[in-house]
Symmetry: C2
Subunit: 213 residues, 2 copies
C-alpha cells in the first residue's frame, strides 16, 4: 500500500508517519519509484506498537527506537531478543550497590531463584535490569522495615510465573518471531497497568468478602 | 519517646519530622508540656509509611496527606477505609467517556466481573478509580487493536485474586485495623514494582525454558 493508504488504515496522519520514518521507529517501505514506496501489514503492525510505546507507555522516542531495534535484531536468539527488548524498557531505579539492604536483598533474591529453580534468571543475574529492579524494590522494603519473608515472595513469584506462562502461550498464537517479540513488548507496556488494576480491584473484592463494605 | 528519640529510632532528622508534622503527614504527639510532646510506636510506623509514599511511591505531599487521611478515618467501614486510601493513590488516566473503545471496554469489564462473580466490584463500578483505570487500560488495548479476549483477561484476574488473597492474609497478621490499612497502602506502593519485576523475570525464565537462550 501507499503512504496515504497506510495513513488511512492506521488512522495516523502522513506527517506523523513521516516523522516516525525519519526517527527510525518505522522501517522504510519498499521503494517503487523515486518518490514512492510500498508499505505492508508489517508497517501497520509496527505503527500500532509505536503508538503503544509512545502514547500508552509514554516512552521517549530514543528509548522506543532502542526497544524496537532489539526487537528487530534477528542475530539474537529468541530469549535474548525478547530479553533485550524488554531490558531497554524503562525500569525502576538500580539498587544502591553499597547499601547494606542491597546486599540483604540480593541474598534474598538468590535464595528465591534457587528455591523456584529459575536457573536462567540465576545465570543472567544482575546483567538483567529486571533482576536489578527486583533487588532494588526488595531493598526498599528492607530499608523501610516492611516484611518480605521468603514464603510471601515465593508465592507471588509462582503466581507471576503462571501469568508468564499464559503471556507466552498468547504470544505463540502469532506466526512469526518478529510478531511474537513485538507482542511481548506491547504486553509489557499495555498489560502491566491492567494487572495492577486487576490486583487492586481483587483486593477490594476480597476485602468486601471478608469484612463487608 | 521525645522527638529526638523518634528521630534516632527512625533515622529521620528532627527537621524533617517537624516538616511532616506541619504538613499533617504525621499526627501530633501527646503534649506533655508547653514545649514537649511524647511520641510512640504508631508515630514510628507512620514515619515508615510516609517515607514509603514520598520516597518510593514518589507521591506529592498533598496526595500522601489525602491517602493517610483516608487510612486514618475510623468512621469508614473496613473495606471503604482500605478502598478510600487506595483510591487516592495515583492511578492511570481516566477513560475518555465519549470514545467508542471505552464503551466496548466497559462492556468487557462488566462481562468479566459477572463471570468472576466479583459482586462488590460490580456494585461500586465506575465510582472506583480502580475500576475506571481498568476500563481505561482495556480501552487503550482495544483502540490499538491488541487482543484481549475474555479468557486471557479472566485467567489473569483469577491469578490476581490469588495474589490479593495472600496480600490480605499478610495484612491480617497485623493486630489493629489502622496497621492493616497502613500495610495495604504500603503494599500497593512497594509491592507493585516488585510484582512487575517478578512477571518480567518469569517471562524471561519461561522463554528460556521453551526456546533456549
Amino acid at each position: 500500500m501507499r503512504l496515504s493508504e497506510l495513513s488511512e488504515q492506521s488512522g495516523i496522519t502522513t506527517a506523523t508517519i513521516k516523522y516516525y520514518l525519519r526517527e527510525g521507529l518505522l522501517p522504510p517501505g519498499r521503494r517503487v519509484s523515486a518518490t514512492q514506496a510500498e508499505y505492508d501489514e508489517s508497517h501497520l503492525r509496527r505503527l500500532r506498537l509505536v503508538r503503544a510505546l509512545l502514547q500508552v507507555g509514554r516512552l521517549p522516542v530514543a528509548t522506543a527506537r532502542e526497544v524496537l531495534g532489539h526487537a528487530d535484531d534477528e542475530s539474537l536468539g529468541r530469549t535474548m531478543r525478547l530479553g533485550a527488548a524488554l531490558w531497554s524498557l524503562p525500569h525502576g531505579p538500580d539498587p544502591d550497590e553499597d547499601a547494606p539492604e542491597t546486599v540483604a536483598a540480593r541474598a534474598e533474591v538468590d535464595r528465591l531463584l534457587d528455591r523456584l529453580g529459575w536457573t536462567t534468571a540465576q545465570e543472567i543475574g544482575a546483567l538483567s535490569p529486571v533482576h536489578r529492579s527486583l533487588v532494588a524494590s526488595l531493598a526498599a522494603l528492607i530499608r523501610l522495615g516492611y516484611p518480605c519473608e521468603g514464603d510471601y515472595l515465593a508465592d507471588h513469584a509462582r503466581l507471576m510465573h503462571q501469568v508468564a506462562v499464559r503471556d507466552l502461550d498468547m504470544m505463540e498464537t502469532y506466526p512469526s518471531q518478529s510478531e511474537q517479540v513485538e507482542m511481548a513488548v506491547a504486553s509489557a507496556v499495555l498489560y502491566e497497568p491492567l494487572l495492577t488494576s486487576l490486583r487492586r480491584l481483587a483486593q477490594e473484592e476480597e476485602s468486601a468478602r471478608r469484612y463487608g463494605l
